[in-house]
Amino acid sequence: MTQQAGEAMTPLVQNAASRPSAGTQRRRSRPQSRWWSVWLFLLPALLLFLYFKFIPMFQGIQMSFQRVRPFLGNEWIGWSNYIAVINDPRFHDAIIHTLILGFGQSIGAVIGGLVLALLLEGASKTLWFVRTAAFLPVVTATAVIGEVWRIIYFPAPNGFLNSMIGTVGLDPVRWLEDPGVALYSIMAVGIWQGAPYNMVIFLAGLAGVDRSLYEASAIDGAKLRHRLWYVTLPALRPAMTIVLVLAAVRSLRVFTDVWVLTGGGPAGATDVWMTRIYSLGFERNQMGIAAAGSILLLLASVALTALALLITRKRAEK
């Protein structure tokens, strides 16, 4: 939840930064102002960042080249940790699972969010209530969601979901226990939780669509699906970009859902990048290899973000 809040903040910060004119005027009217007062205001945040983000990050990079033994002295071992990660078949599986999960969840949550937004757009009081209800999964702690879904997915024939599909004659499914199904069960929970967040962004986008375009197209005889395809979707393109970039970056770091629902099991069928790192670091005490895995994750996130920004900027230039 905090991550999402953090990501949502970014556009605001950029907005503030892109309005320099007001600041320059004020500075001219106050020549006695000192240059370092700006830094003074930034100092508390910078110190917190330094202490809780940058120093740990550099230590992480350092650890990724070491055999970590705090009490016997760390030992420099060059690229061995990275080689161990790259050659570990369990890590390959974890990366494939992360990609499947990320891709499925992102696409699912975008489609789900779009459908919800189209259904729930409007100003009526009841819609406001339904929208709030739909948004609840986003503000609920993932650990709680995990427990609720564990009950829904209870694998006995009298489990919640199994008794529902039983009414239409389907056999009970071992949702989180069957290695072939578990990953998709987690994906469904992720979509359920992520779609309402996207809905809010799409709702904001929909509010900006010029009403007259709808009317004009209706007069020209466009059917509902034509209006969606030629008016609504093009108007939502900026919102779509934001949603996809956020989803893609977030999906690499998926952890809590998986950890609470299956702990990476059964038989490693739902092991993702982060659960693998956690297991290596905290269960097997191989901090160096875990650090190398984390740094690779960082690089992948940075690369993905850069790629997304590049695409966005190219499109904006057009």
Binding site: S33, P44, F154, P155, A156, N158, P179, A267, E283, N285
Partner: protein, 431 residues
């Protein structure tokens, strides 16, 4: 809009104070002995009572932390090179901490009262190189819990053999022992199949031994891998049938449940093999009169179960060696051992390591006689070598076999045996 100088001064001081706060380390002189245990809230109450008695007796204050996220929090403190002074934790982790240099070696003869502990107790805290790294604190064996009300209702005797155990579990799963009118809402056995900390391996080891199989065999720091021997393969086939047979005899979700305890407590499963620490929970639900505790039913390999031990370790960064020793000496004394069994909460000393005490007499509860009897026929997992990686690998491999059901058991076990052998030879512990 001009800035008030007083305000700006205040912000400078504010910033400086914040900077000082962030940069200051814990250089204040230590006053209390910091003690950690891996415990839930109930056991923590008992530990608190024990430490209060210690402070009263010696005047040494104790700062106590009970956590179930023990490993994670300890890793963080290890990275900061500032460990708790005393750790009270599973015997299974001693070797990992000792080889990492996190806990200090101990000379048993220096601990007063060491002669009141059995040879077997001291053997359990000895590493492969002959050095001792812990002081024994508590011991017990896993025992079998059975819903006696269900058993009597369905007309079964207490199971003495594995065949009778299977018959009872099958009846629990199929004959509606709770009288709810629904057959499929009760299950035979509650199984903690989670791979978290390799927990599944502990549960499995008892049944492996009872079927005549084993993971590794040996002693004194040298082990041979036996997990793929014909006896072990046969044992695994039998255990897999509990999960994959028809009807399945374990609770649904056994392999991903974080805990199996609720299934026994909430009237879903009728048989549960676990430690006596569960008494406190199960006396509340399903209720003290509704379950019984028995010696493990015998398989072809006997009725051996897993020994579990808790020991006291000295953190390597401590500046209070005298106080560490004083606490250990107190904790193995008859007074503290008795308090650990009887103080309100949950017994943290399950069976005393101090041989001058009689547990059954102190508890006044014959269930503890069963635990003591089972302890005589129980085995510790290797703890003089770092078995952590092997334990996790065993848990994961068995989970994979039992979740797929169709797996090639011999092939999986051969693969596992190879990996355990690699791990052991890395530690120079392969026979």
């Amino acid at each position: 809009m001009s800035k008030n100088p007083a305000q700006s001064r205040r912000s400078i001081w504010g910033g400086a104070a914040l900077a000082a706060m962030l940069c200051s380390s814990t250089s204040i002189a230590q006053e209390a002995l910091e003690v950690w245990s891996r415990s839930g809230p109930q056991a923590a109450e008992t530990y608190k009572a024990v430490f209060e008695a210690f402070t009263e007796k010696t005047g040494i204050p104790v700062e106590y932390l009970a956590t179930v996220e023990f490993e994670t929090q300890l890793q963080a403190r290890a990275a900061a090179r500032d460990l708790p002074d005393v750790l009270i934790y599973d015997q299974a982790s001693m070797a990992a901490y000792a080889t990492a240099g996190m806990v200090l070696p101990i000379v048993p003869e220096d601990i007063s009262g060491h002669d009141q502990l059995s040879e077997a107790s001291w053997d359990s805290v000895r590493m492969a190189d002959g050095a001792y790294y812990g002081v024994p604190f508590s011991q017990h064996a896993q025992i079998t819990f059975i819903r006696s009300d269900w058993r009597k209702k369905l007309g079964f005797e207490v199971p003495q053999t594995h065949d009778e155990l299977i018959a009872l579990a099958t009846a629990f799963a199929t004959q509606d022992p709770d009288g709810s009118g629904v057959d499929a809402d009760t299950y035979g056995m509650a199984v903690p199949g989670t791979t978290d900390r390799g927990f599944f391996t502990w549960w499995l080891s008892s049944y492996m031994m009872q079927r005549g199989g084993s993971f590794v065999e040996g002693a004194d720091g040298k082990y041979a891998v036996t997990v793929n021997s014909p006896e072990s393969v046969a044992a695994v086939e039998w255990i897999q049938n509990l999960f994959c047979g028809s009807p399945s005899l374990v609770q649904p979700g056994a392999l991903t449940n974080a805990s199996a305890t609720p299934f026994f407590a909430e009237n879903h499963a009728g048989i549960y093999q676990t430690g006596p620490y569960a008494f406190a929970n199960f006396d509340r639900a399903p209720g003290k009169d509704k379950y019984e505790v028995v010696i493990a039913p015998a398989g072809p390999g006997g009725k051996t179960t897993l020994t579990e031990r808790t020991s006291i370790y000295f953190g390597a960064t401590s500046s209070m060696p005298e106080e560490q020793k004083a606490l250990a000496e107190f904790l193995i004394s008859p007074e503290a051992q008795t308090l650990g069994m009887t103080a309100p909460g949950q017994p943290v000393v399950r069976l005393p390591v101090n041989t001058t005490l009689d547990a059954a007499e102190i508890y006044g509860d014959e269930r503890w006689t069963v635990v003591a009897e089972q302890l005589e026929d129980s085995e510790l997992m290797p703890s003089d070598i770092d078995f952590t990686t092997a334990r996790l690998d065993i848990a994961e491999t068995f989970q994979a076999m039992f979740s797929q059901c169709t797996g090639d058991i011999q092939g999986s076990l051969d693969g596992l045996a190879g990996r355990i052998a690699d791990e052991l030879s890395m530690q120079d512990a392969l026979q």
